[in-house]
Structures are given as C-alpha cells and as structure tokens.
C-alpha cells in the first residue's frame, strides 16, 4: 500500500527534468511487477497524477490498470481515460517506454471494438501514432491498428493521410504485412487502385520464410485490383519475391488465377459465368464486391481498346463489340468513362455516334511543369536515400562478413576490396 503511495509521490516529484525522468523510469521498471499485482486498486491513484506532466508514471499505472480483463462498463470509462491520456501526454516521456504505450493503445483499440464504436478510436490512435513515431518514415505497431479502426469505422480518408507517408523503418515484419494489407483495402475503398496495388504488391513480394495468411489474402486482392486497374495480370511474380511466395501463393489462390485467365480472354460472357459459378468462394473471402468491379471494369477495358482503333463508332457498334445489351447502355458506359476522364470522346446523340478524341494534354501548362518538377525533386531525394543506404550497407559488418565468406565461391576480382575474413 505504502509503496504505491510512495511511487505516486516519486512520480509527482521527479517528472520535470530529463535526468529525473530517467531515474523515475528505473524506479517504475522495478515497481512494475508490484503494480501489476495490485492492478485492481490503482484506479483512484490516477486522479492524483496529471497526464500532461506525469506522462511516464501515468503510463505505467494505466498499463497496470488495464492489464486484466474488462467488462463493457469498465471499458467505456477506460476509453475515456486513455483517450484523454493520449491527447495530453508528452511524447518525450512516453517514448521511454514504447512497449507500455503500445500495449495501452492496443487495449484501447480492443475496448473500442468491444464497445463497437470504432469511430471513437480513430482520432486518438492517430495522435498516438504521431507521438510514438520518431519520424514519418517509421512504421510503428500502432499503424496497422489505426488502419483497422479506420476500416471498421469506414473513415477511409483519415486512413489515407497516414498511407501517403512513405514508410522505410520497420520494427516488426508482421506490422508491415498488416499495414500494407489494411492500407490496400482502404485504398480500394477510396478507389485509389494504383496505390492499393503498390501496397498489396509490397505484401506479396515481401521477404518471408514461411507463407502467411496475410500474404495469401493480399495476393487474392492483388490479382483482383490488377485486373481492375491496369487490366492485366501476369501470373509470375517478380524474381525478387521470396521463393516461398513464388511457390505457394498461386496454388492457394487458384479460383482467382482462373478468374484472371478468363479476364484475359476478353469474353465478358465467359467471365460472368465463371464468377457466377464461383460466387460462394469469392463471397467467403469477402471479395465478391471487388470481383463485381472486375467484371464491370472489363466493359471499360473493351471500350478503351476501341478508342485505339476508331475515330468514330456508332453506339450500336460499341454495344455489339463490347457485348452490351443496347446502345443506350453503351451510351451510359461511355458517358461515365468520359466523366471519369478515362477516355476522351464526344457523343453525337442525333446520329448515335461517338467520336473518340486524343488526349488533350499538351504538356505545355505551368501545372504540368510543376508536376514534372516535383516528380524530379522526389526522385532525387529518393535516389539520395538509395545511395546512403548502399553506403551503409557496404560498411555493415554483417554484410561484409557474409560477402567475405562467399568470396571463395565467387570470382576473385569482383571482391578485391573485401578482406578475406572480417572479424570485429
């Protein structure tokens, strides 16, 4: 009893300067076990602490408090406390105990889900990420949790703000898999198919030693998205993909591969019968909606192909070649595509003709120049990063040791600069 009260006084006294906080952390670490054993009666002590000043101490108490199973009623009070803590805590202090912070946040997520109000978790979780990450390139464990909340709360736009940042530092591979998978789903929801494809591609080609369920599900979505957006899918993964993935992914997603083959044939009727026949499989995978989008994208693809060959074409002919039922339907499709900027065309309703135009972009406008310029800037920073990474890699003892060991097997001249054996 007295130890907890003593701890509270310690926390109150030692939260102002950086050196004190370090001392405090040692104290708290030692007291962690006892805190956990007394977790049930810690709640009142929280009121004696100020989350914005005594962030570290508050964090330890909060973590101990929430460790046990919680009921719905408890959860709603905890959610409030944790949300307040997240918004007011000091980043420097909580970064001293990232594990504690992450577990508090994870429990927060669980409680929000328990209450079935994912929307309440979105904003605090975003703040938590911002406070926890050292730079925007850092992927924390909280990223996937946040994206999951966004998905469940259907606030995709908030999720996109995180996805726009480039991620390079990864703590746990599992985080990345989930982050990319959820991120892919959010982008699909927002119809940012290119970005979705990129994220899913990262999952599919990520190095892995054993096949995992996230990668398999991601591969299914990857197939569907690549059919919707670029309109083609090659069954072979790039050679930098892990050998495990190359060997197994295809066999685990056979209905999808079949779908892609059927899509490649360009026959809309075949595709529809195939989808109908395998509807249950897609439904159990929760991919039926995406599959339907694949089917409708085929009409678009076929219409787009016509723009390559024709200058003018009657709506009737379009309906015939694209296998639509009526010219009216063809008109709706063409209209929709013109609105979406997917084709450039004008419809002449009097004659029932469509006139396909060239892309009006002349690459002369200021915006275009700016866009190109920003692209160049971005690529320059990226390639600088690449060089730095390369330099770091060539100084890395582990790499050198490995390269040195493999030296005998390789050509002698290639590794002249590498010492025979590199010991540190």
């Amino acid at each position: 009893m007295s130890s907890v009260e003593g701890l509270v006084t310690q926390i109150q006294g030692r939260s102002s300067t950086a050196s004190d906080v370090l001392l405090l952390q040692n104290l708290l670490k030692q007291a962690d076990d006892s805190l956990h054993s007394e977790s049930t009666r810690l709640l009142p002590f929280l009121d004696q602490l100020d989350p914005s000043m005594h962030s570290l101490g508050y964090l330890y108490f909060l973590e101990a408090c929430t460790a046990g199973p919680v009921t719905k009623e408890q959860a709603s009070s905890f959610v409030l406390i944790i949300a307040r803590f997240i918004s007011s805590c000091v980043a420097e202090q909580i970064r001293l105990a990232p594990d504690k912070f992450m577990s508090v946040c994870k429990r927060f997520k669980d409680q929000v889900l328990l209450l079935e109000e994912p929307l309440r978790g979105v904003a605090p979780m975003l703040t938590a990420i911002r406070k926890l990450q050292s730079s925007t390139e850092h992927l924390t464990t909280l990223h996937p949790e946040f994206l999951l909340l966004c998905l469940l709360a259907k606030c995709y736009k908030t999720g996109l703000s995180i996805l726009e940042e480039d991620i390079f530092d990864v703590d746990q591979p599992r985080d990345l898999f989930l982050y990319c998978y959820y991120g892919g789903m959010i982008c699909i929801g927002q119809k940012h198919f290119l970005k979705a494809l990129e994220l899913l591609h990262n999952v599919v080609t990520a190095p892995m030693s054993t096949i995992n369920a996230i990668a398999v599900e991601a591969y299914k979505k990857y197939i569907l998205v690549s059919l919707i957006h670029p309109g083609q899918f090659s069954t072979s993964l790039p050679k930098y993909a892990s050998s495990v993935g190359q060997r197994n992914l295809k066999n685990l997603c056979l209905p999808y591969i079949e779908l892609a083959n059927s899509y490649g044939n360009g026959k809309i009727a075949d595709l529809e019968t195939y989808v109908q026949a395998n509807k249950e499989k897609f439904e159990t995978d929760n991919n039926l909606g995406l599959v339907k989008q694949v089917v409708s994208s085929m009409y678009k693809r076929n219409i787009q192909r016509l723009t390559q060959t024709y200058l003018t074409l009657s709506l009737q002919d379009i309906a015939n070649t694209v296998q639509l039922n009526s010219p009216k339907e063809a008109e709706m499709h063409v209209l929709q595509m013109i609105q979406d900027g997917e084709i450039y065309a004008t419809i002449n309703q009097k004659d029932g003709m469509v006139r396909f135009l060239e892309d009006p972009e002349q690459y002369k406008s200021c915006e275009m120049i700016e866009r190109i310029d920003s692209s160049i800037q971005r690529l320059m920073t990226l390639s600088k990063k690449l060089t730095i990474m390369d330099e770091l890699m060539s100084c890395e003892p582990l790499y050198l040791a490995k390269a040195g060991r493999e030296r005998q097997r390789l050509d002698f001249d290639d590794f002249d600069t590498v010492p025979q054996r590199f010991n540190i």
Partner: protein
C-alpha cells in the same frame, strides 16, 4: 515414263536414296517436264493428279497420292489418286502400304484394284530371303572388318528397310554407316539418306541437324547436292513455321536441282513454297531483291506461272488479282503434303501484309475503295483493320461513320512526356518497395544473428 521401269527387278526399284537411282530416271522425267511446261500443274482448275504425281518418284509419290486421297472431298479424285498409288506400290515392295491403300479403296475401283494376296506373300517372302541374305553378308563383312563393305552392308539394309516402309529401322541403319564413313562423300551420302528418311518420317529436327552436318564437310559440295540440302533445310524451316528462314533457303536453291530430288520435292514446289513464304515474311525491298530480281529463282517461278504472277501482282500492288490467284491456288495447296498445314497462316500473313502495304502511303483511305481492291465487304475490312490496328501493325484509326481510315501520327513530344512521367512513377514505386524490402531483410537478418548469439 513408267514403262521404262523394269518390273523384273523390284528390289532395286525404289531405292533412289541418294539420287543414284535418279540417273536412269532423268531422261524420262526431263521429257515429261518439257511437255508439262505449258500445262500448269497447280492451277485454279481441279488438280491434275496424273501430272502432279509425275513430278515425284519413290515413296513420296505414294505418300502424296494417299494424302490427296485422304484430304480431298471429290470421290472421283480420291479414287484416281488411290488407283495411282496402288499401281505405284505394286512396283515397289511395301506390302503394308499396299494393304492400307486397298483398304481405303474398299473395292470401289473394281476387281483390278483388289487385294492381291499372292503378290503380298510373294513380296514378303522375297523380303525375308533378302533380309537373310543381307544379314549374312553384313556378318561376313563385320568378321572381316572391311570398313567399306560394312558401310555398304548397312546402306543396303537401310535401302531395304526403306523400300519396305520400316522407316525407323532404315534411319538407324543409315546412321550406323556413319562410323564406317571414310571420305566426305560417304558422309554426304549418309546425310542425304538420313534426311530423306527423316522427311518421310516427319522428323524435321533430324533434317536440320543432318543438313548442317552435310554442310560442314570439308570438301566443297557439288551444286546438285547443295541444292538438295537447301530444299531439305527449307522444308525443315517450313515445318517449324520459320517462314522467313524457309523462304531464304528455298530462294537459294540452285537451278541444278532439276528433277534430281524428285523423291522429295519437285522444282515446282520450290517455287510455290519459296514464293509463298517470301510473300508472307519479306518486306518490299527484300521481296524485290531476293525474289523478283533473283535470276535463279525466276527459273523456278517460270514452272508455276500463277505464283510468279501473284508475286508480281503483290509487288506492283494489284492486290485484288494477287488475292484472286491465291484464292484459286488454295484448294490445291491444301492437298500438298508439306504445305497444307501452313496455307492458312501464310495466307493470313500475306493478306495482312497486303493490307498494311495498301494503307502505308496514305494519310486517309476510303474504306469502300479499299474493300473493292481487296474484294471484300466494308464491314469485313473494318474487322480486319481493327485487328491489325490492335496489333499495332497499322498506325491508323477508323472513322466508322464515314468509312475512312486515317493514318495516325503519334505525337512524339507528348508520347515522350507521357513515358517520362510513367518511368518516373515506376522508378519511384520500385525504389520505395526495394528500400522497404531491404529493411525487412536487414531486420530478419539481425533477428537471426541475435538469435545465434
């Protein structure tokens, strides 16, 4: 010409393996070509089977006749072909083929062409004896280790098997002579035999390898042999659907070929195969330089005026008449043992080439006029053009409303901008993905390293 052959010596009859037999054939065939010159063999009319068969000798004649019988719809023609095959087989000693033909005729040609069991058993018996004799001889040679004799022995065996239709055994026997070849002449003889048998077997990979083997012999080859090898190589390329290479080989065939290779190919065939392959695969300049201005090949083309005419028509852009010639030739080409598989592809390619060439010089083309020139409907032409444009073989777009084809000149500047932006995006994406993967690998590696420690 059949009268020249002596029925009393059936053993030696069909063994024109190396063109040796062709010597006594030459006078009769040459007379027949002179009479035939004005009479086109392949024409719009129904195939004149007798004239066609007259071009060939040996096994290929029989096989070609049987092929015609199998592939033509006209029962009269079928029977005629089978009858001629029957007669031809009777002169040889391939009883198996004989039974096949008789079965195919099914007694439709009267008692003269029925199953001749006595002949069969007689031939089979003779064959047994001959085989025994050859075996004994060969064994004797082998014990005496006389290289040349062993080679001859195997050669005889090859000839024997070949004439009896045991092509696999014949091939093996001919190949065995290889170890006993002492001069390059022998090697060439061996190669030619192997090529002949492989062509009959339809094993065209063997043909290619033995052609190159023969061409590698140190001694200069005599012109007829060179011509034969070119023909064989051309056939092999044709079967492999490498039409351009096939065309080149056929175009290189020298005039020395004459009727020397009638057990495989007739000079008319060289003209047809070469001409069609060239049309399908050559561009305009190559067509002019290598086909039309090729004096050697012109002689071959003279034998088949239709092909000559259609090549000229194609070159001078008279597509309608060119396509008409092609259309007339088609039914007969379909009956050709080597070309029939490729007729459709070659025709499609030639037609596409013609379409591309037609549109090439124009900025806009009235599709109605074009359809007239190609003897087709506007809608059909539109479909064909659409396929070609999708394939990126014609850079143009169709104005389906006014039925006009407009050439499309891609704006280089815009295309470059587009490509640059696209490449940039791809680079961006790839590098980021790569950095991420590198990080993961590093993580994984560190994890393993720390576990090891």
């Amino acid at each position: 010409m059949e009268g020249v052959e002596d029925a009393s010596n059936p053993m030696m009859e069909e063994m024109y393996v190396n063109g040796i037999g062709g010597v006594d054939e030459a006078p009769s065939s040459s007379t027949s070509t002179t009479t035939r010159k004005n009479r086109p063999i392949i024409s719009g009319e129904q195939l004149d089977i007798e004239a066609y068969a007259g071009l060939y000798t040996g096994r290929t004649k029989i096989m070609r006749l049987i092929f015609i019988a199998d592939h033509c719809d006209n029962p009269g023609m079928q029977l005629e072909a089978l009858r001629m095959a029957y007669d031809e087989i009777k002169k040889g000693e391939n009883t198996q083929l004989f039974r096949e033909v008789v079965q195919k005729m099914d007694g439709r040609s009267g008692p003269n062409y029925s199953m001749d069991a006595t002949w069969c058993s007689m031939v089979d018996r003779k064959a047994e004896q001959r085989k025994e004799k050859l075996e004994n001889e060969l064994n004797a040679y082998r014990t005496n280790l006389i290289k040349e004799s062993i080679r001859m022995g195997y050669n005889d065996f090859g000839d024997f098997y070949y004439s009896h239709g045991a092509l696999g055994d014949a091939f093996k026997s001919f190949i065995r002579t290889r170890d006993y070849c002492t001069t390059s002449k022998h090697i060439i003889q061996m190669c030619l035999s192997a090529i002949l048998v492989s062509i009959e077997m339809g094993q065209f990979t063997h043909v290619t390898s033995y052609v190159s083997k023969a061409e590698q012999t140190p001694e200069a080859l005599d012109p007829p042999t060179v011509a034969k090898l070119r023909c064989a190589a051309g056939l092999a390329h044709l079967e492999a659907k490498k039409y351009k290479l096939a065309a080149r080989k056929f175009l290189e065939v020298g005039p020395e070929l004459g009727n020397l290779y009638s057990e495989v190919i007739a000079p008319q065939d060289v003209a047809t195969y070469g001409g069609l392959c060239a049309l399908a695969s050559f561009d305009r300049t190559e067509l002019k330089n290598k086909v039309i201005d090729n004096i050697n090949f012109r002689n071959f083309l003279e034998l088949v005026p239709e092909v000559r005419e259609l090549i000229n028509d194609f070159y001078s852009s008279h597509y309608a008449s060119c396509l008409e010639y092609l259309g007339n030739l088609k039914s007969n080409l379909m009956l050709d043992i080597h070309l029939h598989d490729h007729v459709e592809t070659l025709y499609d390619q030639i037609r596409n080439k013609a379409l591309i060439q037609y549109t090439h010089p124009f900025v806009s083309v009235d599709m109605r006029m074009m359809a007239d020139a190609f003897k087709t409907s506007v809608a059909g032409l539109e479909k064909e053009l659409e396929a070609l444009i999708t394939d990126n073989q014609i850079q143009a777009r169709i104005d389906s409303h006014n039925k006009i084809l407009y050439a499309r000149h891609a704006d280089q500047r815009n295309a470059t901008f587009q490509r640059v932006l696209q490449t940039g995006n791809e680079f961006d994406r790839d590098v980021r993905a790569m950095l991420l993967r590198a990080n993961l690998l590093k993580h994984d590696y560190n994890l393993r390293a720390s576990r090891k420690l």
